[in-house]
């Protein structure tokens, strides 16, 4: 509060003038105005007649803490109380950290203990930080000087003289380097610098293998049994009730080298339709089902989410990500949403033991479209 007097030295309640001298920016202003080209054209001499005059900054109103020492003391105590509360928050954090240990909790108490720990630590930390902030701002608002100070703003543009000197310096330097004269050096330098970017890009080549035909085939092969995902049971046709679905993968996929990559392509859904719901299937897909059991790729042809929402009554498959809807009665033709192509169908048959198997791999690439897909 004692330094309030220092602060008010360059306070101007009047419109800014170049008379206050304590501010360095203001001191400089006098020199600038002479050399400076007139700034915005918005101010012209004829303006006075067409615009209202600027009345200048409104008069400063004093705060209660400026006038009343008791009020100032109260503010001081409030600030101190906030800082004190912050210290309490820090203490709470430290105590909670050592007192509440989720690691000691039994499995059944784990969640409650983690919850308690999280709440107490968060409350302590939050209180500790928030109160420091509140104290500082309260202090600044009520006890630090709140007189508005006016500073001079100079235009960003440099003075003409500075510009001239800058250009002269650059010209001198360029002449010294002979950039204009020594064309051989200039051109060979450009030739050396230009391809540098390649050095950054070329080594990225080994980020991954080239796509090749990897996107076209999946782990499904003729004779591969269908197993349920994730339990891994093989499936017989009689096991699947009408209206039933099974999320399926090809047998043996769990032992493949890149299991997740293979699952990401091979994942499929098996659905059993009633005989009367099979009448609208495409002619060229006759015989792809086993007594009404059909299987489709689960990878959406839009951007690849697993399409798994099967509505048993309408026979629609819905993608949960972007709501593309496929009609299973019509070989998963798109009936709504952003997907453009039907889900690829997996041709099914049974093996000698009566288990459902794939008759072949998908006859087209699964998943989202890409340029080379054709």
């Amino acid at each position: 509060m004692t330094d309030q007097n220092d602060g008010t030295a360059d306070v101007a309640h009047e419109p800014p003038t170049a008379t206050s001298t304590s501010n360095e920016e203001i001191q400089r202003a006098g020199g600038l105005d002479d050399s400076e080209a007139p700034a915005p054209s918005t101010t012209s001499s004829g303006e006075l007649a067409t615009r209202f005059a600027d009345p200048g900054l409104p008069a400063h109103t004093y705060r209660r803490s400026d006038i009343d020492p008791a009020a100032a003391k109260r503010r001081e105590r409030e600030v101190a109380a906030l800082f004190g509360l912050s210290t309490l928050g820090t203490l709470l954090f430290i105590v909670a950290y050592f007192a509440v240990k989720p690691a000691d909790a039994s499995p059944s108490e784990l969640i409650a203990r983690v919850g308690l720990s999280t709440k107490l630590l968060g409350l302590g930390l939050g209180l500790s930080l928030f109160c420091i902030g509140a104290a500082a701002i309260h202090w600044a608002k009520t006890l630090m000087p709140d007189d508005e100070v006016v500073g001079v703003r100079k235009p960003m543009r440099s003075s003409d003289e500075d510009r001239r000197e800058a250009i002269a310096a650059l010209k001198e330097g360029a002449a010294g380097a002979g950039l204009g004269r020594r064309k051989l050096i200039r051109n060979s330098m450009l030739g050396a610098l230009a391809p540098l970017g390649l050095l950054a890009i070329i080594p990225l080549r080994d980020l991954g293998p080239l796509p090749g035909a990897k996107l076209t085939g999946t782990a499904w092969k003729a004779g591969k049994r269908l197993i349920s995902d994730p339990a891994g049971h093989p499936i017989k046709a009689a096991d699947v009730p009408i209206g039933g679905v099974v999320h399926i993968l090809p047998e043996g996929i769990e032992k493949m080298e890149h299991r997740l990559n293979e699952e990401a392509k091979a994942t499929a859904i098996l659905i059993r339709l009633a005989p009367e719901d099979l009448t609208r299937q495409r002619a060229d897909r006759k015989g792809w089902d086993v007594s009404g059991i059909v299987a489709y790729s689960k990878v959406c042809t839009h951007v690849g989410c697993p399409v798994g929402l099967y509505e048993q009554q309408t026979h629609h498959l819905l993608c949960p990500c972007h709501q593309s809807t496929f009609d299973v009665e019509r070989n998963c033709a798109v009936i709504f949403g952003p997907a453009a192509r039907p889900l690829p169908q997996l041709k099914l048959t049974t093996d000698s033991e009566g288990y459902l198997v794939a008759a072949q791999d998908f006859d087209e690439p699964v998943g989202p479209s890409y340029w080379e897909r054709g």
Partner: protein, 295 residues
Amino acid sequence: MHEHEHEHEPMHDQPPSHRHGSTRTFVRLLTTPLRALSRRRRSRFAPLVLLLLGLAITGGAYAAVAPPPQAEASTGVASASIKEGRQLYLKNCSSCHGLNAEGTSDGPSLVGVGAAAVDFQVGTGRMPARQDGPQIQRKRVEFTQDEINAMAAYVASLGPGPAVPDKEQLDYADADAAEGGAIYRTNCSMCHNFAGKGGALSRGKYAPSLDGVSPKHIYEAMLTGPQSMPVFGDGTMPPEDKKAIIKYLKITEQEASPGGASLGKIGPVTEGAVGWLVGLGALIACAVWLGAKAR
């Protein structure tokens, strides 16, 4: 697009499930919570235990007076119950499903849907249906469990279908919750969401929230595939898998949210709303306080 808005119960060829004496069931039900207690789940599972105890007492009381319905249905011992069920059926269901449950243009045939379908549909209040939207909703149950059992017995007597799961099928105490979670996320979460909060289907239909749904009804839903839901028959999803799913759902349903308010457990949408309205909102309020002149 032809869209059936009515129940469309599929045919089943599973045999009726195992039968158990009522006393054994009663004992089992009472021991379930005790076992849960002994597994050091006291504090956290207290509500679950209470729920189970409540269920056990009601179930036990019922079991003491009447044998389980599937037993009568298949053995035909309590034909009185079937008769009573038929009376209830004629009064409450036949206008849509036909005098002999053969189905009409207003409702599907109930021949072969099994007792489980009746117990689920009537036991969750979906039946008798009040048709006022794209989907028949869960609502107040209009019948006592006795009456439901009687109707279930009647429908089960019409043709073989999935029976109401018995107590052993519903005893999921020993099931593997983590495995259940994995099965749930492959087979169920795309519709019902990762925490069983439900999700949207096409054209106003939806997968309902699983909160507060009894294990029996969850089991029956998987077995019978009500409305839009597909059927998860025992052949491709064995009873152990179903139990594991139920255990996972019940554990996560009871589980407190360790990070504070759960915000509905529906993903980033509510989080975004809270981030804007509460987080940024509070900060802007602080900024306004900061910018206001003190008096």
